[in-house]
Point group: none
Chain length 222, copies 4
DNA sequence: CATGAATGAGGCTTCATTCAT
DNA sequence: GATGAATGAAGCCTCATTCAT
């Protein structure tokens, strides 16, 4: 669906470079000043090209914004995937996933504003972003439940709770403070996750990953 | 700080009515179309007054927006306060708080967009809003910890996690679906809260409030 | 239909004056340079108002153009009406009508370009303009036929032929030459009309109006 | 004068084909959407060549437009010539000429818009087009007058009247209705021409061509 | 208190044309 | 001969805000 990377793609290396430059500049600017405070002229000026060039690669200011959201979605999911694959314990998967999300966010601070502002620019895309994320997340949790590693609960609800927690933590530390959450925060987050997911009787206090088990894909944060 | 209800207050009853009408219209419009898509002209037209009149009561479009955020903050906190006061169990306080938040959100759907959009209009106000909320929240949790009703953890982190969970659930159900979260969601949320807050060994399964204890104010959601 | 004088009408005399000024300037500019070569900025500058003011009274550059066409349509028809009413002879009515049209065109040289350019700006309006004109025209001719003053023919076809003749003559003399057609042209036009309309056997040579008869409204030119 | 087929002519067959393709596409596009609504990019895209290629064959967008007008002028005159040559009766020549014009117009619907729009693109060319047409027309009529086949009148005026009639009929039926004028229209047109041209006393009612006489070239319509 | 007119800066986008490959 | 990238001027329109009545 929204995944289509629409807009006129360049046919030469030179064009690709220009387009890329535009994308990067836009990410920085949108992420810093916000969509409305950023003008197309700002983007092109900082990219060292003329305003007309912008429209050679993007249909509109909104279009490049959307492209960025899709891009970010792709990159974040890939990053989590990479770190999580191979881990057997569901609990650990979730924990690593959240941590990866927070690290990614810290490395790409603009992520937050852009994704979250998309809610006011293109509500459907925003929703798509989170539903996609939640879906993968929920699937992983359900697998965990079937394997007895995660307490039986409404998976989707759990997914949104966890994404929300991660998002707010990211907002609090990464966006406002400009750094990764300090250790005590990460510790609390970990125990929070464990408590929320662990089956009754099991390790509410367990500090680190449980026993090996069925591996499986899962989203991470939000 | 930002609490000052600044701007020209009306002197006559007629003026007060006009100002109020403007505020209500703005809430509906900002909440529905967003800040940028709403023009001052839209507000005045729908309010049945001239554009000039707008500036009799508000210094700028941003100002009325801020006024709305402060207003909402006040009303939400009051609503939670009212429902939570008197409850002894910390766990129950949190649960009722979250539930109240979700109900309030459902009753004032525009809340979400407005408060959340404020992040892109007046970042300081937005931060103030959440820090204020988190602070009260954390204080309550700390009291609970001291009373042994809540597991020892970094209170602020916990507060943000809980607010985030509530916010995302509200987004998922209230905003996207247009209704209050269904029972299974609320059930999962409850068990989620309990698991996250309960001290080791205690009530992970406990369905309803624990023993009586120190009452105290507390925030609710996000 | 298109007759609606849409756009925001002024509520005060001052506003009405501004709007009028804009309309006049636009007529001169559109008529002289054409629609595309005339910028909104040109219109406002020459009118002594800011660009923003333009949009207080007109929704778009196209809108003021349309307004002009409607206006012209109204004025031309009124002018012909005034001159033609009371004349009994159908033949004379047509002749006076055409003459009036040519005089009107000479007095409002911009008429041509504007009406004719409307064909490329708003084809429907253009068509409406001529169909309206032709309709009245044909009705008058039919009355003349029934009264035996006009040869039996397809009235609408006759109407378009006559409008076309008038239009091309206006183009040739008024637009290109900048003056009213010289006497020999008007003479030829008159005999042309007479020949085309006169019933068999009658007045091909008749120089001036025939016998009195049923008066009636009729369009004139094009 | 404007007849010069200027601009870079291709040297190779491949080039000639490209140029031709461009010309055809432009005719279709200009005729359909109009000059201003058609972009160079539209033309090249639909022609399957790059934008740069366009400027290999034409100096500007206006230039290809002019080329089209000249082309059309040439083709129309040739078409009329072919049909009219050999006919002896002046009256019949005019009638056949008009008919041919209408048929040509129906076969090349875009003719109208292009030629007529040229009035707003290159007024001189437009004027040239019609003066050229009128000149030949008038010459033919004058010959007819001298031969007593056409009533004595100002020939040029007659020419413009006839061209105007033909043009408006073409507009009414070919352009608006998308078909050739129905029989009753053609009949009325014929009797219209006859009445307008016939010498006094002669065939106002004569249905078909009169006696043989001096042949001669003549324009047809507009 | 209220209004309607006026403003003007600025934003997004289009598009004919040029250029290096 | 053909291409795709790049340009930059210019145009239309929006809109928060001010002002005189």
């Amino acid at each position: 669906m929204q995944t289509t990377t629409s807009s006129k793609r360049p046919r030469t290396a030179r064009g690709e470079a220009t387009r890329q430059k535009l994308l990067e500049t836009a990410e920085a600017l949108f992420g810093t000043r916000g969509f409305h405070a950023t003008g197309v002229a700002d983007i092109t000026r900082k990219s060292g090209v003329s305003q007309g060039t912008f429209y050679v690669y993007f249909d509109s200011k909104e279009e490049i914004f959307r492209e960025l959201v899709r891009d970010l979605s792709r990159r974040l999911r890939a990053a989590i995937q990479a770190r999580v694959s191979g881990i057997g314990s569901r609990l650990e998967v979730e924990e690593v996933g959240l941590r990866t999300f927070l690290e990614f966010a810290a490395a790409h601070r603009n992520l937050y504003r852009i994704v979250f502002e998309s809610q006011f620019i293109d509500p459907d895309l925003f929703r798509w972003y989170y539903e996609r994320m939640a879906e993968g997340y929920a699937r992983g949790l359900e697998r965990g439940m079937r394997a007895g590693q995660v307490r039986e609960q409404h998976a989707e609800t759990l997914a949104y709770c966890l994404m929300g927690a991660a998002h707010f933590l990211g907002m609090r530390w990464v966006v406002w403070e400009g750094r990764e959450p300090p250790p005590e925060v990460m510790d609390t987050l970990r125990s929070f996750i464990l408590a929320a997911l662990s089956p009754p009787g099991k390790g509410e206090v367990v500090a680190r990953g449980g026993a090996g088990e069925v591996p499986g894909r899962s989203g991470g944060g939000g």
